[in-house]
Every structure is written in structure tokens, then in C-alpha cells.
């Protein structure tokens, strides 16, 4: 467990030394969501209707933007090989890296989403549901994305390839995440959506570090 926490602390510390990388993804999220009203028009009714989808798709893309960094630097300088050789299980260290990635790339999106939701005229309770859905959904995105990041590690055209691999797998998270907010706006029950998101999160939290570790071992061979 201490190895897990140490990995989280190390990755957070490294990221804080190079703040611009983390901030880029966050600003990307802000800019993309602000582009949609400019492209579609300032009609509040329409914007309110498409807001959950836009915020979720933008969150998906912003998470994707940060994924290649997850293992690339450690792979480049050989840290990853030392991790694979270390006495603590690699899966645990990988889980720590994924958690750190979520804290850096996912959590800022969760915190920013209510502010951006105001741009789209969402009311307070809808903003609450949006935040809750993103809180459950963004760790899921980091977990699934880690598998893709490990598979494309050091591969030609890795970034684009990563998008091709990971985005189809993100679809269930998008459906239930955006669906929860839409259902709330439509006056329906949102418990089902959130429960399914949470169920997928539990499933991914169990399997994704394991699959990521297997993919990393292949990349390190």
C-alpha cells in the first residue's frame, strides 16, 4: 500500500513541477465547450438541451489528451522497467499512476464542469447531477484509457491510434454520464444511470489495472 501511495505522490509531484502540461488539458476542455455555442448559436433552449452531451464529449477528449503522458516519460527514461522489476506488484504501481492521472486530468474537469455548465443555462440541481456523473465517470475514463496508453506505448503514431482504440470503449460512459443529466432535465429518475456508471467504475477498477499491467509487460519485452 505504501508503494501505491508513493507512486501517487511521485506522479503528483512531477506534474506540479511541470504545471503547463496539466493545465493544457484543462484549458482544452474549457475552449472546446465554449466553441459549441459559437458554432451552434446562442439559443438558450437548444444549448441547454445539448449541454450534457457537449460537456461529456469534451471531458472525453480532454482525458484522451492527457493519456499518452501517462507512461511515456517513465518508459522513456527507464523508470517503468525499474517499476516492473521492483518487489511490489506492478499492478499496484500502475493503479497508483492511474489514480494520479485522474487527480491531475479528471478531477479538474469535474470541478470545472459546473462553472462551464452555467454557460449552457443548466440549473443548480442539474449541475449537481453533472458533477456527480463526472465524478463517477472520469475515473472510468482514466482506467480504460490506461489500457490504451499501455498498448500504444512507444508505437508509431501512438496518439492518434490511442484515440481510435479508446474512444469506442468510452461510449458506455458517455451514454450513461450524459444520460443522467438529460434524464434529470427531463424530470426522470437518475439513480439508474448513476448506479450503472458506478458499476462500470467498479468493474474497470478491478480489471483495468490488470490489463494495463499485461500490456505494459508486453511493451517492455
Amino acid at each position: 500500500m505504501s508503494a501505491f501511495l508513493a507512486t501517487v505522490r511521485r506522479d503528483l509531484l512531477l506534474a506540479l513541477r511541470r504545471k503547463s502540461e496539466v493545465l493544457t488539458a484543462v484549458f482544452f476542455f474549457v475552449i472546446v465547450t465554449s466553441l459549441f455555442p459559437l458554432g451552434i448559436g446562442p439559443e438558450p433552449v437548444l444549448l441547454k438541451k445539448i449541454a450534457p452531451g457537449i460537456l461529456w464529449v469534451a471531458a472525453l477528449l480532454a482525458t484522451l489528451l492527457g493519456l499518452p503522458r501517462l507512461f511515456a516519460a517513465d518508459h522513456g527514461d527507464g523508470t517503468l522497467e525499474q517499476m516492473a522489476l521492483s518487489p511490489s506488484p506492478l499492478g499496484l504501481l500502475v493503479a497508483g499512476k492511474i489514480l494520479a492521472h485522474w487527480l491531475l486530468c479528471g478531477l479538474p474537469l469535474v470541478l470545472l464542469a459546473p462553472v462551464l455548465g452555467l454557460q449552457f443555462d443548466l440549473d443548480a440541481s442539474a449541475l449537481g447531477i453533472l458533477t456527480l456523473a463526472l465524478l463517477l465517470g472520469t475515473p472510468l475514463l482514466s482506467l480504460i484509457g490506461a489500457i490504451g496508453a499501455a498498448l500504444t506505448l512507444g508505437v508509431r503514431g501512438g496518439g492518434v491510434l490511442l484515440a481510435l482504440l479508446v474512444l469506442p470503449l468510452y461510449i458506455p460512459a458517455l451514454i450513461f454520464g450524459a444520460g443522467a443529466v438529460e434524464a434529470h432535465i427531463a424530470g426522470l429518475e437518475v439513480g439508474g444511470h448513476l448506479s450503472l456508471l458506478a458499476a462500470m467504475l467498479v468493474l474497470a477498477a478491478f480489471f483495468a489495472p490488470w490489463a494495463t499491467t499485461a500490456a505494459l509487460r508486453i511493451a517492455l519485452e
Binding site: 489500457i147 498498448l151 500504444t152 508505437v155 508509431r156 503514431g157 501512438g158 491510434l161 481510435l164 482504440l165 474512444l167 469506442p168 470503449l169 461510449i171 458506455p172 451514454i175 450513461f176 444520460g179 438529460e182 434524464a183 450503472l196 462500470m200 480489471f207 490489463a211 499485461a214 500490456a215 508486453i218 511493451a219 519485452e221
Partner: protein, 246 residues
């Protein structure tokens, strides 16, 4: 038991699988042609004209088998990929690699024929129905698998990375399917209900089954031909390939 195990593992080596595949290919082509001719004959001349859809429904005889095969091939591909990952048999991974283009072709064919069918029947090329959407996502999964394999130069790494992706995809397919299905029922966007199958004449069903068998045999034949090409490409440095090509 011991002997049968040895027998099966024997064909796990490219050298002994190559001639076996070569011997099987003509049979599967013949079966594909036979089932195809019978299926086409039934679907064009025997199956009655549909009361509601007229003659246009006959595209079902291509559309449904292609959809079935696209889903089935992904499962088979994941099976071979998993086997290759677990037992480290090279031919298994090559089978998975050989199946992917055929699976993608079937998914594309299913989407294309679906569009051709949808236009006269519903007046639109595309609806965001659960089945259409999940077929599209399946197509994306095939593309991802092929792109990953193509991007990695080392074939052994490409095999293993592809295998993990195929297995992750197989776990996700039911999740994606149900999420798309529930998304669709929540939105109630289209009034077309594809899930309620109309009662089908017996001959139509036969035509469809024969066509599905033809597609199945075709897929096996093509995958075996492709796996032979892959074996030659990867084993080009070995002595037996030089003899085989001569």
C-alpha cells in the same frame, strides 16, 4: 488423451499448419459456393414477395448473414487471440490477425446493406437505432485492432498487444450493446422498432440460413488464405518456406 493433445499442438506450428490450411481451403471454397448458390436461388426465386416490403426486403439475405458473421468473427478472433496469449502459439495469433479484415468487411457490408435497405423501407439511410449503432461501434473496434497491429513493427508484440485489445473489446461488447440499447429506448427518437422481428415465411428463413452458412464458409476460406500469406511473410527466413514457395 496425451496423444490427442500432441496432435492438436502439432498444428500450432506454422510449418505444419501451412499445408493443412492449403488442403482445407478448396473444400471451404466449394462449400461456400454450394451454399451460396442454393441460398441465392432460394432467396431470389423461391422466397415469396413480402406483403409489406415488396421485393426490396430480399437484401435481408445478405444483410442478416453479414451482421451475424461480423459479431461471430469478433468472438472467434478474440478466442484465437486469447489462446495465442495463453499458450503462446504463433498460429493462433496469426489466425486472429487474419480474421480481423474479414470481420471488418462483414461489419461494413452489414452497415452498407442496412443503409440500402433502410432507404426504401423507412425513407432514411441511417437511424440511430441500437442495432445500427452497436454495429458501427463494432466496426470501429475492428479498425482499432487492425490499426494497432499495423502500427507495431515487432510481430510478436503486435500479436500480444492485439490480443489484449481483442479481449478488452470482447468484455466491452455486451456493455456497449446494452448501453446503446438503453440509450435508444430512453430517447425514443425513431419510431422504427427493429427488435420486433416480423413473422417470417419458412422459405425466407431457409434462404437466410443457407446464406449465413455460405458467408461462414467464405470467411473461413478467406481467413485461411490470409493466414497462409501471413505465415509465409513471417517465416520467410526459414528453410521450409523457401522450399514451400518453390
Amino acid at each position: 488423451m496425451r496423444q490427442s493433445l500432441i496432435h492438436w499442438f502439432k498444428y500450432g506450428s506454422p510449418q505444419s499448419f501451412y499445408p493443412l490450411a492449403g488442403r482445407m481451403i478448396p473444400w471451404f471454397w466449394a462449400a461456400a459456393a454450394l451454399f451460396g448458390i442454393a441460398g441465392l436461388w432460394i432467396s431470389f426465386f423461391v422466397a415469396p414477395t413480402d406483403a409489406q416490403q415488396g421485393e426490396g426486403y430480399r437484401i435481408i439475405f445478405v444483410h442478416v448473414p453479414a451482421s451475424w458473421m461480423s459479431m461471430f468473427i469478433y468472438l472467434v478472433m478474440a478466442f484465437w487471440a486469447g489462446l495465442g496469449l495463453a499458450l503462446n502459439t504463433r498460429v493462433s495469433a496469426m489466425m486472429a490477425q487474419a480474421l480481423a479484415p474479414t470481420g471488418a468487411l462483414m461489419a461494413a457490408l452489414s452497415l452498407l446493406t442496412g443503409a440500402f435497405w433502410g432507404k426504401p423501407m423507412w425513407g432514411t439511410w441511417w437511424v440511430w437505432d441500437a442495432r445500427l449503432t452497436s454495429e458501427l461501434i463494432l466496426f470501429f473496434l475492428y479498425l482499432g485492432f487492425m490499426a494497432l497491429q499495423a502500427a507495431i513493427d515487432d510481430p510478436r508484440r503486435a500479436d500480444k498487444a492485439g490480443a489484449i485489445l481483442a479481449l478488452v473489446g470482447v468484455v466491452n461488447i455486451p456493455i456497449i450493446y446494452f448501453s446503446v440499447k438503453w440509450w435508444n429506448t430512453l430517447h425514443q427518437g425513431s419510431t422504427i422498432n427493429l427488435t420486433k422481428a416480423p413473422s417470417m415465411a419458412q422459405t425466407m428463413l431457409w434462404g437466410m440460413l443457407l446464406m449465413a452458412l455460405a458467408f461462414w464458409m467464405y470467411s473461413i476460406a478467406v481467413a485461411l488464405m490470409r493466414v497462409r500469406a501471413i505465415i509465409l511473410e513471417r517465416e520467410r527466413h526459414t528453410e521450409w518456406v523457401k522450399h514451400a514457395v518453390e
